[in-house]
């Protein structure tokens, strides 16, 4: 199957509708090959040989009592309970049917492309926040909300992004409060600086609107 089925373009497309795990327990497998900075199994890009051996060890007891038949294809629910299995090789179209039937039973779900896009943007947001680049973080998170707001199956991605946006908004609101306290204490320049930072870098969030309003209410420069 690794030669004729897994590289099949329709199987690859169907594989994006589920999470795939490859379990091969052979310890005399060829050594990992170098790809750029990474070392991966020569048969499974993106996976080390030690990983598919470990996968075999951690899953074989879950699905077999005694002899492990190779190849065996198993489709499971997200909690790992079995839906269907097929022992022996099978043509690409049968694997695609198995995946689609399992997807219909479990779903609707998030496709791999959508998931990887959202995870990538969440990482961009986290990295931007770590370097205090609030603007870039908000842009990355808003791109998730914009891309997935219409599909109910993607709600979990939208919720993840929205939660982070809410946290950023709360941080912006705290800065606004600090600026208001500065203004009340007569430190108008500090207040002006703080509010400007919020409405410049937190655009699109409620805190930016509040900051702009507070800024306009500050005493004018003489």
């Amino acid at each position: 199957m690794d030669v004729s089925v897994y590289p099949n373009k329709d199987v690859i497309a169907a594989s994006k509708l589920c999470v795939n795990i490859f379990c091969n327990g052979e310890t005399d497998h060829a050594a990992d090959k170098k790809y750029g900075r990474e070392e991966w199994c020569e048969n499974n890009y993106g996976q080390k040989c030690a990983e598919h051996v470990k996968n075999h060890q951690s899953t074989s007891n879950l699905f077999f009592k005694g002899t492990i038949m190779n190849p065996t294809t198993i489709l499971c629910n997200p909690d790992g309970t079995e839906i269907k299995r097929k022992v022996g090789a099978m043509p690409a179209k049968d694997l695609i049917t198995m995946i689609k039937e399992a997807g219909a039973k479990v779903g609707p779900g998030i496709t791999q492309d959508e998931y990887l896009f959202a995870k990538g943007k969440l990482k961009v947001a986290d990295d931007a926040l770590a370097t205090k680049d609030t603007k870039e973080a908000i842009e990355a998170l808003n791109s998730i909300v914009k891309a997935f707001a219409k599909n109910p199956a993607d709600k979990v991605l939208v919720d993840m992004a929205q939660k982070k946006l809410d946290d950023i908004n709360a941080a912006g609101m705290a800065l606004v409060e600090t600026a208001k306290a500065d203004a009340a204490a007569g430190k108008v320049e500090d207040a002006r600086k703080g509010l400007k930072e919020v409405f410049s870098n937190y655009k699109g969030l409620e805190c930016a609107k509040v900051a702009e309003k507070e800024y306009a209410a500050l005493p004018k420069d003489k």
């Binding site: 199957m1 690794d2 999470v19 951690s58 997200p78 997807g103 039973k105 791999q112």
Partner: protein
């Protein structure tokens, strides 16, 4: 003049070499034309739960 040219050539060669090195050290991407395999059973469970999709478990041996 000749010395300047030699120095410039050396600099260009160094830059080219550094470029090659950078190229080799870039993180590899999983090709779009291959199945994306999870790194562990725990990772597969967590991702399937988050995405609400089935898990495809492939038991396999080399030829």
């Amino acid at each position: 003049m000749r010395l300047t040219f030699a120095a410039a050539s050396l600099l260009a060669a160094s830059v080219a070499f550094a470029g090659d090195k950078d190229k080799k050290e870039k993180p590899a991407q999983i090709p779009a034309d291959s199945i994306h395999w999870a790194h562990s059973w725990e990772e597969a469970l967590a991702e399937a739960k988050e995405r609400n999709v089935p898990i495809h478990v492939a038991f396999h041996k080399d030829h």
